[in-house]
Point group: C2
Chain length 352, copies 2
């Protein structure tokens, strides 16, 4: 999806990807298939490029030294965002609202997360004293009674800063299930979320995209330094310095998408301010489960769901449970209608 936005602006795209079967390798011309720590291949790749970005932060950052000056967001941003303990220390040191944490197993129930490599619920557990904790370096987070999960993407070039609207996210089995925009939160809370996201991106000095994920609750947390706005408490959960699954909704919901924004930044094209288009927009993920035993999705039910503005399939060949195979975006008159349409379309795809 980023390649699409880059091509539109006339760029040439080269891809570094260990797996030759990965979708983008089937779709672009200039492909390097080599390991994340193959310094020779990385160096050769970087010589082709004027700018390099990444869609996945769980790569070793050491070997990327050779492309330090092309990397956007920078090595420093990557180093913080790929390591949960560094990320949380960064939030604490900068006075940003966050979930209270310790870098050791505590004496009370907590969410344990490995400091590296975790995503979609991998590398984390809800832990009670007496249970065997995760092995390896970890952080222990206060358990928050989450009422709403939200995310906010900030796009920063060398001279401009754009902020996307706040997305409301629903997870299922720790995997993003739906994103809705506008989020159903009071205006002051939405503004505070955007302010914290902007402040976080500034403090990290991001050039590129920064997605900040938030927990929101109306029960004051015991330990976490949350930001109170009216009767809401908000705190940063985690950071991703790249296009984010929740941001896929911007492909239809905004005057330009998160991918367009990053492409503009990478290519030194003016960024501008993304605006939300009228109505309610909902993004639903299509996980491997929707495919059942099939390897290809039958989109016939789309005919009965004209509110579905986009279906986007990523070209992955092996549908597996929990694997993100694609997404769709609906346009509704209301939040209720949007949510109903997401559920109905997904059910229709699953049935056939």
């Amino acid at each position: 999806m980023l390649a699409e936005s880059l091509y539109r602006l006339g760029a040439t795209v080269a891809v570094y990807e260990p797996d030759p079967q990965a979708p983008l390798c089937q779709r672009t011309r200039y492909v390097t298939n080599a390991a994340w720590n193959d310094i020779e291949a990385l160096r050769k790749f970087s010589q082709q490029c004027s700018r390099v970005t990444y869609e996945f932060e769980n790569v070793e950052s050491e070997p990327l030294q050779c492309m330090e000056f092309q990397l956007m967001p920078s090595m420093a941003v990557l180093a913080v965002a790929q390591h949960r303990a560094r990320e949380k220390r960064f939030l604490r040191e900068n006075g940003l609202p966050h979930v209270a944490f310790a870098e050791h197993v505590p004496d009370h129930p907590a969410i344990l997360k490995t400091v590296r490599g975790g995503y979609d619920g991998k590398g984390q557990m809800r832990w009670t004293p007496g249970e065997t904790p995760l092995s390896g370096p970890l952080v222990a987070e206060e358990i928050i009674d989450i009422e709403v999960e939200a995310s906010c993407i900030v796009a920063r070039s060398k001279t401009e800063e754009g902020v996307f609207p706040v997305f409301e996210n629903e997870h299922r089995n720790h995997i993003l299930d739906t994103t809705l925009v506008p989020a159903s939160l009071p205006d002051e809370v939405l503004a505070a979320v955007q302010d914290v996201a902007r402040e976080t991106a500034r403090k990290l000095d991001v050039t590129g995209l920064l997605t900040t994920e938030f927990f929101l609750t109306r029960h004051q947390p015991r330990r976490s330094p949350a930001l109170q706005v009216d009767d809401w408490y908000l705190m940063v959960n985690e950071l991703a310095p790249r296009p984010h699954n929740s941001g896929h909704v911007t492909r239809q919901a905004c005057t330009f998408s998160q991918f367009d924004a990053l492409a503009r930044i990478l290519l030194d094209v003016p960024l501008g301010q993304p605006r939300l288009l009228p109505g309610v927009w909902g993004m639903g993920n299509l996980l491997g489960e929707v495919y059942g035993t099939r390897s290809k999705l039958d989109l016939t039910p789309w005919a009965e769901h004209p509110t579905v503005r986009e279906v986007c399939l990523y070209g992955k060949t092996q549908p597996r449970a929990g694997r993100k195979m694609g997404h769709f975006i609906v346009h509704g008159e209301s939040r209720t209608a949007g949510l109903a349409e997401i559920a109905a379309f997904r059910a229709a795809l699953t049935k056939t």
Copy 2:
């Protein structure tokens, strides 16, 4: 742009293109570089594909026999649309409004056009008795006092038919300069244009896209069998069985684009009915002239033109006068504002 829409629906794209320097060859993985009449290469290519379409109808159709059953629109459609005399005979035989024509040089002033290979004003001349006419097979058309040029794209699958809104087109030196939608014509005239476009696509039995270009005038033509609607006379000028330059505006102006429509048809995905989004939309072509002596466009002025929703560059490396290098799309409150923005943005790009 079609590849983008195909990829979104999970397709694999293979390209047949004689010129290895052509933009798409730099952007896709499966590329065949061979001549349009290389039967062996065409056969091998067709064996990779379940469906084949074309973005350019000035190819010899004979060698395409080997992919007859994959071709969409069909060989029969291509044979009509790539040959002006056949196209005009088709319109006449089917009682569709068209510009009066003869297949010989007449005894009065006329527009002469070669029957094959003409586009963007190539292979045509305004001719007066006494002048040397074009050589080779030609058609001679009545000179129409054109007030408005319009186009209408019909998308047809095996089971569905979608009609895009009517575009109003302005040409400069015979090359499309701007497209506006909605067109500034009375509702009855717009409906008639869509009806004729639909009827033309049905009579041609198109599966895929058919763009029908129209001349509109309020001066009754002497010879042409025009369709009168109120005080307007409309007639078909020419047909293109593929995505059309004027249809680029649909990338922003409609719920889905001409490329999305063709991708859905090619992939047997439900088509649906494209809807026009609120406001006025204008597409401006970026010809080589805009580049001046530069090889790369400086998009810095975009910062001052927030109504520009999209800039799309095609990745062509050699800007030449008259060559279509890209386009941009503006969103305006009114027709006047839209036109002014197109002019202003193009001027700003040309200046820097």
